[in-house]
Symmetry: C2
Subunit: 285 residues, 2 copies
């Protein structure tokens, strides 16, 4: 079984089909969050610290760190935010930026604070420019990387073409001696409100990745319900289906989905005697 | 695509992978319901009438009718209950009994009230005695039938053996010229609290039925969470996974699961513009 191993200075997290689903906390990201975006513009990282603590308390196994917002100098702020998260909580981090220079600055800080560490980079995709900029960083810093199933032609509209992009990313990574267990695939969730086939395509691509390559997979699952009422009901059902198709480290708000993810793990035989499910239930009171 | 067509006197329901998931209302069944069992013992069918109305209002597409309880004469009561349900609501019925004599008495009443009708019979399984008693009734009355994946050796502990029982039921039915679209398979949900592999085995068997035979499938889904806290969270996740694996007419309490089933249909591309999902949300207020 494919094992992606992430490490902070203090904790190791194994992502694998044999392990329980790992939650990547999504909340340190100013997209759609005006208060966080404004704070980052002021150089204020207090919300980042708070979100780090709260998400770990809610069950996050890994924390995504993204400071990309209009007016924010990511090359300056991303390393600072990564450092603060690493000093605040013990879990591994997922360094998230569209700017390769900011990624490298944050990777340097990560290496200083955790010389034996292994972060996740979010993300590479099948675009030539992106492959050329990000994969060398993955190799040089011994990181793992999220590979998005899109390329220079955009997000493919069918499962087979998304899978073809995944293959291309894996081949290019292996060309730089990045082992495939260090690649975590994101087949991309689009909203079913706009396209009734959106989730079918994503789930189909995941099934191909699961069956043909056996790679570990992430997904920004909540996009699927954008614009619809009672989003949690849709998100929970989508997570259950996607976990069945190989999703094992979704990027989510752990407080909102942990219960449903624990139920999915229980059903898939990853929670003997329902111990994790029952423990989480009791902790919530 | 396989189409199972059920008919009452007034309504036709098509069960097919291309259609939205159909809900078989489970509540007209005295198992575990002391008040209903006592009423049936007194010959009182008022609860049956009430449950029929409430389940259809909650979204049931088909109603299971079971009067099996200690002290109840099913041969007398099952036809009466079926008649009352047929006179109360328009949806097709699923005639549910372990007693072939009671089944036939109810089938006769069904034929009188709906000469062109087609009920579902619950159930046959791979036991010799059961095959010999029930399949001739299915053929004679032109009914459809639920086939349970168990036989004289009990419920097989792995997916492949459950699938082997399914194949046997299909072969035996076809030997009586019962077309396979009139067979609805139940791969049997056992509780994950007792066996961490219980749902894995069920889901694996369903995948085999889906891929190898393409038969329509039912499931008494809520068994899976027996004895565990927050059963709905587990049941919803299980329904999402099972619907992805071909479940298209679960036996459920519609008031408890309809929302989750509509979400699953939406994700699987069976609800254009999310119209059914949004309509149900608005109706609930």
């Amino acid at each position: 079984m494919m094992k992606t191993i992430l490490k902070s200075a203090k904790e190791t997290v194994v992502i694998s089909p044999e392990e329980p689903t790992r939650l990547i906390g999504e909340r340190i990201n100013p997209t759609g969050k005006k208060r966080l975006a404004a704070a980052l513009n002021d150089g204020d990282l207090s919300i980042v610290k708070q979100e780090a603590e709260e998400q770990v308390a809610a069950g996050a196994d890994i924390l995504d760190v993204n400071v990309g917002a209009a007016g924010v100098d990511e090359v300056d702020m991303l390393p600072k935010a990564v450092q603060l998260v690493m000093e605040t909580v013990d879990v591994p981090v997922c360094i998230d930026s569209a700017d390769p220079v900011a990624l490298e600055a944050a990777l340097k800080v990560h290496r200083e604070l955790a010389p034996e560490g292994k972060p996740l980079i979010n993300s590479v995709n099948g675009e030539e420019e992106r492959l050329e900029a990000v994969l060398p960083l993955v190799a040089e810093y011994g990181a793992a990387v999220i590979g998005l199933a899109m390329d220079d032609d955009g997000i493919p509209p069918d499962s087979e073409k998304r899978f073809a992009v995944v293959r291309k990313i894996v081949e290019r990574a292996e060309g730089l001696d990045i082992p495939r267990e260090d690649i975590v695939i994101d087949c991309l969730a689009l909203t079913v409100g706009a396209d009734s086939q959106a989730a079918v395509v994503t789930l189909g691509a995941m099934r191909l990745v699961q069956e043909e390559l056996g790679l570990n997979m992430t997904l920004g699952a909540s996009n699927v319900s954008f614009g619809l009422p009672e989003r949690e009901v849709i998100n929970w059902a989508f997570l259950a289906m996607a976990i069945q198709n190989g999703l094992n480290c979704p990027i989510v708000d752990p407080a909102k989905v942990r219960q449903a993810v624990l139920a999915a793990d229980l059903l898939l035989g990853r929670d003997d005697y329902a111990m994790r499910y029952i423990k989480a239930y009791k902790q919530r009171g």
